[in-house]
C-alpha cells in the first residue's frame, strides 16, 4: 500500500474517532442539553453583569449592538454596558455619544491598542461579579443573558459561552458559514459537556470577574484573546460551559477574501496558542482538553492540508495520464459502456471510508441545525459548504502553518 494511502487511512480513522466521540457524548448526555425556546425563565437572583463592547470603526453596527443589549430580558439595573472606542477613525465615538445619559451605559475612548486592551480597560472599570464581552458586530437575543446566567448556579462554572448564529446570510459565503456555526453549536456543547471548551468567543461569553483577579487579564495572544483566555482557564482547571440556547447573532464575512483573513487569524491563533500551551497536551490533569480538544484541532489542521495535497496528487496523476493519451492518439471520449456499467462504480475502500467520514460530519451538522433551529434541516448549502471549504480552507490552514514556521504575524483585518 502506498504511503499516502496509509496516512489517509490513519487520519480518516482518527477523524471518525473524533466524530464518534462527540456523538457518544450526545447520546449519553442528551437529557442534560437544555432547549428553553418559548419558556419563561425566572432566576433565583439576578447578579449584576457588565458587558464590555470593544469597538474599532464599527459605526454601522454599534447602534444595533447596544440596542440589543438594552433590550435584554434582565433587570436593567443589573446590566451595565461599557463601550470602549479603541481609537476608531470613523464615526463610532459620535454614535456612542448618543447613548450617554443612559444610566446603564458608560463610554471610554482610548488610543488604538487592540481588542485585548479595550477589554482590559473594561475589566478595570467593572465592579460587578460577572463580566461579558460583546463584539460590536454582534447582537444578543433578548433571552440570552438569562439563559447563560442559569449555568452559574453551579459555583464551579467560571465562564459560559453562547450559541453563535449567523445573522441574515445574504450570499453563499454567509450561508455556508451559517451551517458551520450551527455545527459549531453542537461541537461546542459536546466539548462543554466534556469540560473541554477551547474558546470563550468575543460575542457574549460571560466570565466571573474573579477569574481575571486569579489568572490575569486578556492578553494579545496572537489576536485571539478569546481563545487564549479559555486555554488559560483550562490550564487553571476552571470550568467553562456552553449555553446552546443562548443565541447571539453575528455578522460574518461576506466575501471569500474576508473569510480567508478571519480564518487565517483564527487558525494561526489556534496553532500559536496550542504551541504556547503545549504542556497541556496529553496530560491527565487537564482531562479531555489535553486529550481530546487540542489533539482534535491539530488533527483537523493536518487532515485538511493532507487531503488537499492527496487530491492534488490524484488530479495531477489523472492529468498526466490524459496528457500521455492525448499526445499519443488525440482526444477521445470514454465509451458509453464504461459510464453506464455498474461495474465501474468506485467501490475502493478509500472511497467507502471517505463516505463514512462525510456521513458522520453531515450527521453532526444536522444535529447542530436541530439545536439551532429546532429541527434538522438539510439544504443545498451543505453541498456548497463541502465544495467551497475543501477548496479554500487548505489555503488559510497552510498559510497559518507557513506563518507559524516563518514567524509571521497575522493582522486583525
Amino acid at each position: 500500500m502506498p504511503i499516502q494511502e496509509i496516512v489517509f487511512y490513519g487520519l480518516s480513522f482518527l477523524s471518525i474517532y473524533v466524530q464518534i466521540f462527540l456523538l457518544i457524548t450526545f447520546i449519553e448526555r442528551r437529557k442534560e442539553i437544555k432547549y428553553r425556546t418559548g419558556q419563561h425563565i425566572d432566576l433565583k437572583e439576578y447578579p449584576s453583569v457588565t458587558v464590555v463592547v470593544p469597538c474599532w470603526n464599527e459605526e454601522k453596527t454599534i447602534g444595533g449592538t447596544i440596542e440589543s443589549l438594552l433590550a435584554l430580558d434582565y433587570p436593567s439595573d443589573k446590566v451595565n454596558i461599557i463601550l470602549v472606542d479603541d481609537g476608531s477613525t470613523d464615526n463610532t465615538w459620535n454614535v456612542m455619544q448618543g447613548y450617554i445619559g443612559n444610566p446603564q451605559i458608560t463610554a471610554y475612548q482610548k488610543e488604538n491598542g487592540g481588542k485585548h486592551t479595550a477589554m482590559n480597560l473594561g475589566i478595570s472599570k467593572t465592579t460587578t461579579p460577572f463580566i461579558g464581552c460583546l463584539d460590536a458586530d454582534s447582537f444578543v437575543d433578548h433571552q440570552a443573558l438569562k439563559r447563560i446566567m442559569t449555568y452559574f448556579d453551579d459555583t464551579e462554572v467560571m465562564a459560559v459561552s453562547p450559541a453563535i448564529i449567523v445573522t441574515k446570510p445574504k450570499n453563499v459565503v454567509q450561508r455556508i458559514q451559517k451551517i458551520e456555526y450551527h455545527w459549531g453549536i453542537y461541537t461546542k456543547k459536546m466539548l462543554g459537556l466534556n469540560g473541554a471548551i477551547h474558546v470563550a468567543p468575543g460575542p457574549f461569553s460571560i466570565i466571573r470577574t474573579s477569574v481575571f483577579a486569579k489568572i490575569g487579564n486578556f492578553k494579545k495572544a496572537h489576536n485571539t484573546e478569546d481563545m487564549e483566555i479559555a486555554y488559560r482557564m483550562q490550564a487553571n482547571h476552571m470550568k467553562i460551559e456552553h449555553a446552546n440556547d443562548a443565541f447571539v447573532y453575528t455578522v460574518t464575512p461576506n466575501t471569500v477574501k474576508k473569510l480567508y483573513k478571519q480564518r487565517l487569524r483564527w487558525i494561526y491563533g489556534f496553532i500559536q496558542n496550542t504551541i504556547d500551551y503545549r504542556r497541556l497536551l496529553f496530560k491527565k490533569e487537564y482531562g479531555n482538553f489535553g486529550y481530546f480538544t487540542l489533539p482534535s484541532g491539530v488533527l483537523s489542521v493536518v487532515s485538511v492540508v493532507f487531503i488537499f495535497f492527496f487530491t492534488i496528487y490524484n488530479i495531477g496523476h489523472f492529468i498526466v495520464q490524459q496528457t500521455i493519451k492525448i499526445s499519443t492518439v488525440g482526444v477521445s471520449l470514454p465509451t458509453a459502456t464504461h459510464i453506464f456499467d455498474p461495474f465501474y462504480i468506485n467501490t475502493k475502500a478509500i472511497t467507502i471510508v471517505t463516505l463514512v467520514l462525510y456521513g458522520t460530519v453531515i450527521l453532526a451538522m444536522l444535529i447542530g441545525s436541530r439545536m439551532a433551529e429546532g429541527k434538522p434541516k438539510f439544504s443545498f448549502s451543505f453541498i456548497w459548504f463541502f465544495i467551497i471549504y475543501s477548496v479554500i480552507a487548505p489555503f488559510w490552514l497552510m498559510k497559518a502553518v507557513y506563518n507559524t514556521v516563518f514567524a509571521k504575524k497575522t493582522a486583525w483585518r
Binding site: 464518534i20 466521540f21 486529550y291 472511497t351
Partner: protein, 224 residues
C-alpha cells in the same frame, strides 16, 4: 478522565472503519465474481466456436460465428485492467482471472487464425506483450495506440498479454515468437517488433499486410 469512554469510542470507530472496509471488500468480491462468470461464459462460447470449426467441413464459412467473442473479450479486458488498478487488495484473484483471460485469448487467437486461413478471411493478428507501468513506461502509450488503431481498422485483432504473467501458455508464446524483454513487444502476423511502435509504424505494416487481402468486418480487442 473517562478512559472507558475513550476505549469504547475506539472500539466503535474500529467497528465502523472495519465495516467500511468489509463493505468495500464485499462489493469488490462481487465484481470479481462477475468477471469469473464472464470468463466462464466466454469459455463456453469459444468451445462452441471450436466445435463449429470442427464442423466446418459440413458448414459454409459464413455460418461460423467469429465476431461475437471479440467485443466480450475486449470488455472483459477493460474490466480486468480496471480491477488491477482499483482492487489491489484482491491481487491473487485478479492474477487468476488474468491467467484464464490470457488462455481464452490464446484459444480465440488460434481458432481465428485457423478460420481466417480456412475461410480466407482477411484479418491481421497482433499479439501485444506489455508489462506494468513501472517496468514499461511506454506500454501505456502503446495501449492507447492499439486501442485507437482497433477502432480505425476493424480487420485488426489485438491480443494483449502481460509479459510477466506466470502462465506456461503465455511463456510458450513468448518463446515461440522469441519476444524480447524490451517492452512493449508486438507480433504482427508472426513478425516480431520490439519497443514502442508509433501509430504510423504500425499503420504502414498493416497496410502492407492488408494490401494482398480483402478487408473484412472482424472485430478486435485490446488491453491497455
Amino acid at each position: 478522565m473517562d478512559w472507558k469512554k475513550y476505549l469504547i469510542v475506539f472500539i466503535l470507530t474500529a467497528g465502523v472503519f472495519g465495516s467500511a472496509l468489509y463493505v468495500s471488500n464485499t462489493l469488490n468480491g462481487k465484481k470479481l465474481t462477475e468477471l469469473k462468470s464472464i470468463e466462464d461464459k466466454l469459455s463456453i462460447d469459444i468451445l462452441s466456436s471450436e466445435v463449429q470449426y470442427s464442423l466446418l467441413e459440413e458448414l459454409s464459412c459464413n455460418q461460423v460465428t467469429t465476431s461475437v467473442l471479440s467485443d466480450e473479450l475486449s470488455s472483459l479486458a477493460d474490466k480486468i485492467t480496471y480491477s488491477e488498478e482499483n482492487l489491489g487488495a484482491n491481487s491473487d484473484q485478479i492474477s487468476q482471472l488474468k491467467q484464464s483471460y490470457s488462455l481464452l485469448e490464446i484459444k480465440d487467437y488460434l481458432l481465428m487464425k485457423k478460420i481466417s486461413e480456412r475461410c480466407n478471411k482477411k484479418s491481421v493478428f497482433v499479439l501485444y506483450f506489455y508489462s506494468n507501468e513501472d517496468a514499461c513506461p511506454d506500454c501505456v502509450k502503446q495501449g492507447y495506440i492499439l486501442t485507437d488503431l482497433r477502432q480505425a481498422y476493424p480487420e485488426l485483432r489485438v491480443y494483449s498479454f502481460d509479459y510477466n504473467l506466470n502462465l506456461s501458455a503465455v511463456k510458450a508464446m513468448i518463446s515461440i515468437y522469441k519476444v524480447p524483454s524490451d517492452l512493449p513487444g508486438l507480433v504482427i502476423n508472426g513478425q516480431v517488433y520490439s519497443g514502442l511502435q508509433t501509430r504510423e509504424q504500425i499503420e504502414s505494416v498493416l497496410k502492407l499486410k492488408l494490401q494482398t487481402k480483402t478487408p473484412t468486418a472482424t472485430k478486435t480487442k485490446v488491453q491497455q
